[in-house]
Symmetry: C2
Subunit: 335 residues, 2 copies
């Protein structure tokens, strides 16, 4: 893979310029560009600049409102709701997290319903932001049908990621963020682009057959991770990020989607718990016993550790050259 | 397998008599016997009478308090806490569910922290009870170390089940309840007793080798379902049902356990959400669209459906004869 080096500021600016050129206002372009920069910073390449063409496509097609001005509202002392005004999710999330965190610190637990939003990023930015405030965070979103329920051969579920974050003492939070599909679609796309095989069980080809060829899976369907148990969790995400927050299912999002290559409209559910109210002052310190145990086992690594290690490097990041050429054209609006 | 037929009332009474004879008071014996009866009713055999010898052992050894009188307290309008007084969980749960449900109906979301309790049953009784009240329920407990984190070969996590329930229109709730281990220990024990093999990936033998022999796995360790993703979810359960609610981890429960064959002390986390407050009046009806889709796919079955179908049969249940002889002896205290 040919790559070029860009500083984190250059990554931000390139993303910002593409979004502005496509019609986003400063607040929206800033929120998305910041999310993209943080993904590249943490080595989460499939959620970095790789996504900008999709963000731009949705602005160009008019599906997404680049001037959304979402305002969170306090529904009950423990519940925050936000209508995303059909914008990209990052601005709404940036505005909601503090109200959600304050609600959890008052009530011990609180939840956010974000609707009419277009989510195209990882989930760890929102759960990690809660854990950085001393809270336990959980989040999930659905997407567009790409995953067959266990036993089926046609897409019904989104890749439906879930993320969980736990505040740690003297460490960055413990955070996992994973598709409930056997593999995230972005990873399958990268494998197809780079000519890699994927593990058997990742998905089915167009005839419903198991295959290790990511290009065949892109024509077929992904499978849930972990068989019927993962399939049940993916269905839980459909319900939680759909009707429970006042939104539709993946298959409904797909029905109203214009297939411009960017994310359809969807909902997000975020849960925040103050572990000190629930479990007592000592509980974060107590939890360190488990992390010590895990770090003492050969062959076990904590999710999120790689991201947090990469984050310490403030230097430039390698980005695929073709992608950069494409983005520079988008930033000039000469596509 | 030789079996005898018992009516549901006889199942309840046999369980009740065993517990009373071992020192439980009426309230505790009733709550546990009712839980056991409902498990047998729903065909959840590994959580039925099969567990009574374990319940009895913990009463006989003095580890569990058969006269626990747990009282839920309202910590915040959205948070309920209950000290289980070292009793078996069913009485505490029966007393907490209504307060938790009312909190969720007031605040939109609420959580329960149950500590100092001994959980030896399925989780669906508590999540289904919430869904029967129109709420979305989620629950998890940890147990005693039986599962190696992905990459490891020694037990660190419990089988750490999670359960989720969703209220349905004109149907029993949608409920799943599953170990985050590849297989629940009760199922492995039943397979060993009945001479069945288990799927590769269920666990490791005493030398850390993959095996399909449940007897070897009973000498070794279980594995999480779904590889590193299931392992991350199991760790989430350790944190949520442990320090987050003010309890210890599985490995700490094991350190203070007397190995009498019954459940160690542990915590439980239960979440209740009022989907009508969060998602609007229409959301339960809306969700039926997904269940219709799923039920239209050949090869897909909804978790919980088998249980709800078996429940409709109010007739006698077949129970292993050896187990019945053992329980009748326990009920006479002549073991």
């Amino acid at each position: 893979m040919n790559s070029v080096e860009l500083s984190l500021d250059e990554i931000y600016q390139l993303a910002f310029d593409c979004l502005k050129r496509a019609g986003a206002d400063d607040a929206n372009a800033d929120a998305v560009a910041d999310t993209v920069k943080r993904a590249e910073r943490d080595g989460s390449v499939s959620h970095g600049l790789f996504r900008i063409p999709g963000y731009v496509a949705t602005l160009n097609s008019g599906k997404v409102n680049g001037n959304a001005d979402p305002q969170p509202e306090q529904v009950t002392p423990a519940m925050v709701r936000c209508h995303g005004q059909n914008g990209h999710a990052p601005l709404a999330l940036a505005r909601c997290i503090e109200m959600l965190a304050q609600s959890a610190k008052t009530c011990g637990i609180a939840a956010l319903s974000l609707t009419h939003s277009h989510h195209f990023a990882a989930l760890w930015p929102e759960t990690e932001a809660l854990a950085e405030r001393g809270l336990v965070g959980f989040a999930c979103v659905s997407y567009t049908p790409m995953v067959a329920p266990t036993g089926g051969t046609e897409a019904l579920f989104g890749t439906n990621p879930i993320s969980f974050a736990w505040p740690r003492q003297d460490h960055p939070p413990f955070v996992f963020d994973m598709a409930t599909a056997a593999m995230a679609m972005g990873e399958v796309q990268l494998a197809a682009r780079d000519g890699h095989q994927v593990p058997l069980g990742t998905g089915l080809g167009p005839e419903g057959e198991l295959t290790t060829d990511p290009k065949e899976i892109l024509k077929g369907v992904l499978l849930p991770f972990g068989g019927h148990k993962g399939s049940a969790i993916s269905l839980m995400v459909e319900l939680m990020a759909g009707p429970m927050v006042g939104e539709g299912f993946s298959f409904e999002a797909a029905e109203s989607n214009n297939d411009d290559g960017g994310p359809p409209q969807g909902g997000e559910f975020i849960l925040a718990i103050d572990p000190k109210i629930m479990g007592g002052e000592n509980c974060v310190e107590h939890a360190e016993k488990m992390f010590s145990k895990l770090q003492g086992i050969d062959g076990v690594r904590l999710p999120g550790e790689r991201r947090h290690k990469l984050r310490q490097d403030t230097g430039p990041r390698k980005v695929n050259s073709e992608l950069i050429s494409k983005l520079r054209a988008l930033a000039q609006n000469s596509q």
